[in-house]
Structures are given as structure tokens and as C-alpha cells.
Amino acid sequence: MTVELAHPSTEPLAQRTSTEPAHPRWWFVNTTPGRILTIGVILATLGILSAFAISTTINERQHQLTTVLDHTEPLAFAAGQLYTTLSVADAAASTAFIAGAEPRPVRQRYEQAITDAAVAVTRASSGLTDPPLVEMLGRINARLAVYTGLIETARTNNRMGNPVGSSYLSEASGLMQDTILPDAQRLYEATSARVDAETTASAAIPAPVIIVVAATLGFGIFAHRWLARRTRRRVNVGLVAGGLAIAVMIVWVGTALAISTAGSRAAKNTASDSLRTVTGLAITAQQARADETLSLIRRGDEDVRKRSYYQRVEQMRQQLRDYQARTDNVDTSSLAQADQLLERWRQADERINDYIAVGNYQAATQVALGTGEDASTPAFDKLNDALSQGIQESRKQLRYDILSARRVLSGTTVGGAMLSAGAALAVALGLWPRMSEYR
């Protein structure tokens, strides 16, 4: 049995090829379900954009802080150590020279300073990539080798009773003070400026995140009100849930970013400044000590040395006073006694000058090198210890600040992204029933 099926269309085929489309283009967008769908797509896109902006910004920030912690800060610290230990070496070498037969502790201090400087060069070299800085470090390293050679020549001549030893010593000291130390200072300044720059970068206001999240929130509120008017349902659970997710994310990520930024700011404005001030103090102290001991070698530059010593001591006193007057400095209790130690040292130096004025160099040297309570060495040593401790404390604070700035961000990347994506999903789920009403 065969069944004949009639053609459903009774109209002629030619009629269907009219030039007029059945609906104008994008007609669907202008219908209510179309609008709901469009709003849904935009909201979802904004949600995903927020997730993206948050995760990249925070990732970037964490990465920057990790770079500072693992790379830039240790490099700056190594450069600071290099600068300090070179100054220690110079002061120790001239002290050893005027000490005549070089007592064991005096010799050891010089040797330790050279070891420390060599290690600091190695540490600094492992992180330097900037060609001019690499070259600078190369120069420091090359000249350090020359410097130790000159010091040993001075020492040998001194031990053999050749007066030319003092010429070698002043050549070495001139090399250190006129060439090596300025290079070391530039290196230290360049590297610590980089720590500051990178820390500052991670404390910037995250504009893209704020814009995208604000746009998402604003459009969400608009969408919710529009939908309430159009569908006569006061609350859309999906949109509200999405909004809540965004709100939670704003609070969470916002707080984390605020704390992190505060940490970064503290690291730069307080800890980094403290570290730089205390490092500067420690270096000035060593240079003043070098002035004090070199003036006892008597090459005719005593007046210059003496002036330079008083200038440096005055500079240190001013820096100490400024530092302690600050309210936001790192609590470096070790520096509390520094002012008194500085004063004691200066008094010892005045006694040295008094002895020199009456031509009693033996007694002057005794004051400079002696271990008595009113001698120069104990005051200088204690001051130096206090400053070294201050450097350690400031550095600890700096690293702690940066570390906490990074720690507070951990989890926010994933959390923020998930909440944003969740918001997008909630919006989709909330809009779907409204869409399906227009089937």
C-alpha cells in the first residue's frame, strides 16, 4: 500500500524568494529575551574580565615582590655589605700600620674585612645584569686585588724597617678612597634604588582592576533594576548571588591589596630608609676611623684628615639625631647608645690631638689603638657593633614588610577569579528562567 503525501505548501515557490527578509537584522536583540540574553552575555564577560584583571594584577604584584625578596633586595644588601666591608678594610689596614708590629686582633680584622668584601663581590655579581653595573663591579673587584697587593707591600716594607711603607699605605688608601669606595657607593645606590622602585611599583593603585570591577558592579545593578521593571519580579536570585559574590571579592581582594600596598609602602618609606641611613652611618664611621688612624702616619695631611674626621662625626651626629627624631623609623634599640658612643669617640680623638699638639705621638697612638675605657678603639668598636646590629634589624624589617605584603596576596588570585567566575555563572543561572519565559 502506498500513501500519497500532499505537498504542504500551496504557495508557489517563486513567492518565497522575496528580497524582504522576514525580520530586520538583529531583530532578536530588540526583543525582551534578546535583551536579557545580551545583558547576560555582557555581565558574564565583565565577570570574566574582572577575574582576569584581578588574577593578572595580583600575580604581577606577587611576582614583583618575589623578585624583590629573592633577587633585588639580596643584591642591594650585598652591594651595601661590599661598600661597608671595603671601608672596614681601609680603616683596619691603616690601624694595623700605625700599630707597628700588628697585634693579632688588628690583623684579623683586616683579613676578615677583605674576606667579607670578596664574598660580597661574589654575591653582588650573581644578580647583576645591567652592563654598566657589571662593569663597575668588575672594576671594584680588579682594584680590590691591587689594593690588597699594595697593603701587603706597605706591610712588608714596614716590617723590614723601610720608611717607604707609609708611601705604599697612602697609595693604597688613596686608591680605596678616591676610586674603589665611590664605585661601591654608586653600586649600592643603584641597587637600593632598584629595591625602592620595585617596591613602589607594587604599591601602585591597581586602576584596571578598579575600573573593570566597578563596571561589572554598576552594570549588574543596572541589569537588576531593568530586569525587575521588565519582569515584575523584584529580586533575581541569580543576579543578587552574582552581586554578592562580586561584593565578597571586592572586600577580600580590596583588603588584601590594601594591606599589601601598606606593607610595600612601609618597606620603602620606613625600613628601606632606615637601612640606608644606618648603612650610611656605618660607612661614615669607618671612614672617620680611617681619617683618625691615617693622620697618625703623618704625611703632612693631618689637618685635612682632622677636618675630615670632625666633618664626618658631625654628619653622623646629625643623621643620628634626624633618625631618632623620626616617628616612623624601625625600632633599632641598638642605636640608642650610638650618640653617647660617638661622643666618647670624639673625646678620645680630642685627646689624640692634644698629644699630637705637644709632639707626643707615642701617647697619641696609644689612645688611638689602646683598649682602655677612654681610648678610641673601644668607643669605635662599640659604635660599629651597634650600627651593624642596626643594619641587621632594618634589613629584617624590610624583608618582613615585603614578605607580609606578598603573603597577604596569596589565595586572592584563585579566590578572586573563582568568585568572579561564580558571579558570571550565577548571573547566567539567574537569567535563564527569565529567558525561558519567552519561549
Partner: protein, 371 residues
């Protein structure tokens, strides 16, 4: 098998050839290339088993070897910096100039003639009353002139012939040679220090010249030195004329500088702060020679046996004690001291104490007086 061995040889020679080419192309990559060759040999042997063509193999070996060396050869080593050699603190090179005419100015005055000592002790005492009130004699000297004034490395004290002469002056004033305060002066500062009364006397290998006589006063000569040349034993410098084209070290503000500038053509002159710095410059090969008074050069030679003093007496250098131009009573007093040490044998004792390297003690320079 014989074909295979032959094959290996060819490839090996190709390798060796490669190595040569490669080595000239990139000298430092020998290791890479050699390992490439070793690798090639292995490849080649397995290929040999498979009866591949000999030519293909050698070409392959060459290609591999060349590829292996090609890349590192392109990396240019960063330029190595050259640093200035270390030099004594304050060393400077004078600009080149034409030779100065021989110094005639010393004949314009009677430079070694000084004032006669006081005839009575009362007059002498009156002359040094201000110094006696101060309880110290201020003496200007330096510490870089070995044998005359230098820092004794063992004691840290300043010692030397000049120091002891100053001590004798102090002995006549205070009864003890230790009532002395030293002011370390560079040679260029000696005259200003006297003019400013920063020191009472300058006892610092100071040559009496007519120009200086116009600025400061001098005692009678207490030592006569001869300007000569200090050079390395291995150098061919034997006299002033050999210095042309060489680098010569002198201390700024000394008469030695002027005499070196009279050499035609003028050597390259390097100036420093003290004579000990000249020794450093010589030892560090910054200069070829030092030219100054034999007495100072002897102090440098005693610290370095690789040096010797050469050449004739280029200029006679009578040393005097410098005193402020206006302080003629002190000049007479100091001349009294010098008179004493010449006659009582102190001068000879001091000479033997410090200057025996210059030969046996001569007679002290005879005093000459204006009045």
C-alpha cells in the same frame, strides 16, 4: 672491513682538517670540535656497517663539525676593561716644555753666607726667649726623606740626620733635644710655613738658593749634597743626557726639579709629594729614574738594592736651616748651634750615625758669614 677502516681514516682526516680550519676560525672551541669529531667517528662506524658511501660520510662529518663550531664563534667576547695602574697619592705629570737655560741666578748673590753667631750667651738667650716661653721648638720637616727625616717604622717616631740637627738646636734652647714639635710639611709648603710663622725653623734637606733667600732666611750650610740620578741597575741610564725621553720623578717645589728641566730635550717629568713616593713610582715602573741630592737618593737605595746612584754631580746643593726672613736673632742663634756641633764633634757623630752610606765622614761644611 678494510673499506670501513679506510672510511674511518678519510673521515678522521676530514675531521683533523676541520679541526684545523675550525681552530683558526674559533680558537677557543677546540673542545667542542673535538667532541664533534669523536661523535662523528661513532656515526661513521655505524654507517660503515650499513655500507654507505664514503663521500657522503666525509661531507656529513665536515658539516657536523662545522655546525658544532659555528655558533660559539659568532659570540663576541665583551671588551675587557683596562684600569690605570696604581700610582702614589698625588702623583702628577707635568706638561711637556722646552729646556730651561742653565741656572745663573746662584751667582747673583752670595747664597751660603749667613749671619755671625752672638758673641755672648745673654744675647743668645734673649733671641730665643719667645720659643722658651712656648716650651717647644716648632720644626718643619717631612717623613719621606729617608736618612734625613723619616718615620721609623719600628718606633713610629720621626728620625734622621735633619731631626737630630733640629734636636741640637732644641738642646741649646731647652737643654734637651726632645722639646721639639714636628710639623710635617711638603717641600712646596716649606716657605709659606716659615712666612706664616707656623714653624720656627725648617730642617728639611732645604737647599739654599738666591730666590729662596729673598723670601726666607738661612743658617750657614750644615750639609752639602750633590744632585745625581737614581735608576734601576738593569737600565742604561748613566748620566743626565740619558734621561731625555725617559720619565723622571721629582718632588714638587724642589731645586732638583729646576735642574732636571735644564736637560735638553726635557725628560717627561712626574711630580709627587715626597721622595719616598718617587721610590714607589720607580718600583711600580711609573718612572725610569729619580734625580735629586745624593743624600736623599742614598736613603732610597738603602730600601731597594735593585737601584743604584749614577751620573756626575749635576748641581751642588748646600742645605741650610730655613728661618723667617725677619727673625735674624734666631738665625744667629742657630748659627751658634751649628758652630758648636762643627767644633765639638757632634756633626761627625751624627754623620756616622746616619750617612755612612755616602762614604766616610768628610769635614763639616765651613761656615761663611756676611758680617
Amino acid at each position: 672491513m678494510s673499506a670501513c677502516a679506510k672510511n674511518r681514516q678519510t673521515v678522521m682526516s676530514a675531521c683533523a682538517k676541520n679541526r684545523q680550519t675550525v681552530m683558526s676560525a674559533c680558537a677557543k672551541n677546540r673542545q667542542t670540535v673535538m667532541s664533534a669529531c669523536a661523535k662523528n667517528r661513532q656515526t661513521v662506524m655505524s654507517v660503515c656497517a650499513k655500507n654507505m658511501l664514503r663521500r657522503t660520510l666525509s661531507v656529513l662529518a665536515a658539516t657536523v663539525a662545522l655546525t658544532a663550531c659555528g655558533q660559539p664563534a659568532d659570540i663576541a667576547a665583551p671588551p675587557l676593561p683596562t684600569l690605570a695602574p696604581p700610582s702614589p697619592a698625588g702623583m702628577e705629570q707635568l706638561p711637556a716644555r722646552d729646556a730651561l737655560p742653565p741656572d745663573e741666578s746662584q751667582s747673583t748673590c752670595d747664597r751660603t753666607a749667613s749671619l755671625r753667631p752672638f758673641p755672648t750667651k745673654a744675647q743668645a738667650d734673649a733671641a730665643v726667649a719667645p720659643i722658651r716661653d712656648r716650651k717647644r721648638l716648632l720644626v718643619g720637616l717631612d717623613i719621606g726623606s729617608n736618612l734625613f727625616s723619616f718615620r721609623d717604622p719600628v718606633t713610629g717616631e720621626i728620625a734622621g740626620f735633619d731631626v737630630d740637627i733640629a734636636g741640637e738646636v732644641a738642646r741649646d734652647i731647652f737643654g734637651t733635644p726632645s722639646a721639639v714639635e714636628y710639623r710635617i710639611l711638603s717641600s712646596a709648603d716649606r716657605i709659606t710655613a716659615l712666612q706664616n710663622n707656623a714653624v720656627d725653623i725648617v730642617v728639611k734637606t732645604m737647599t739654599i738658593t738666591c730666590e729662596r733667600r729673598k723670601l726666607v732666611n738661612f743658617s750657614t750650610a750644615y750639609f752639602v749634597a750633590a744632585q745625581r740620578i737614581l735608576a734601576s741597575r738593569e737600565s742604561d741610564i748613566a748620566g743626565p743626557s740619558d734621561l731625555s725621553g725617559k720619565r723622571v720623578c721629582v718632588v714638587r717645589g724642589t731645586t732638583s726639579l729646576r735642574r732636571v728641566q735644564e736637560i735638553d730635550p726635557v725628560p717627561t717629568i712626574v711630580t709627587v709629594v715626597s721622595w719616598a713616593d718617587c721610590l714607589v713610582a720607580l718600583q711600580q715602573r711609573e718612572v725610569d729614574a729619580v734625580s735629586t741630592d745624593d743624600a736623599i737618593l742614598a736613603g732610597l737605595v738603602s730600601q731597594d738594592p735593585h737601584l743604584h746612584i749614577v751620573g756626575p754631580n749635576m748641581a751642588e746643593q748646600p742645605y741650610g736651616i730655613g728661618i723667617n726672613l725677619a727673625n735674624t736673632p734666631l738665625v744667629r742663634f742657630v748659627n751658634g748651634t751649628l758652630e758648636r756641633i762643627r767644633t765639638d764633634g757632634t756633626w761627625n757623630t751624627l754623620y756616622r750615625k746616619w750617612l755612612t752610606v755616602l762614604g766616610p765622614a768628610p769635614t763639616p761644611p765651613a761656615p761663611r758669614y756676611l758680617d
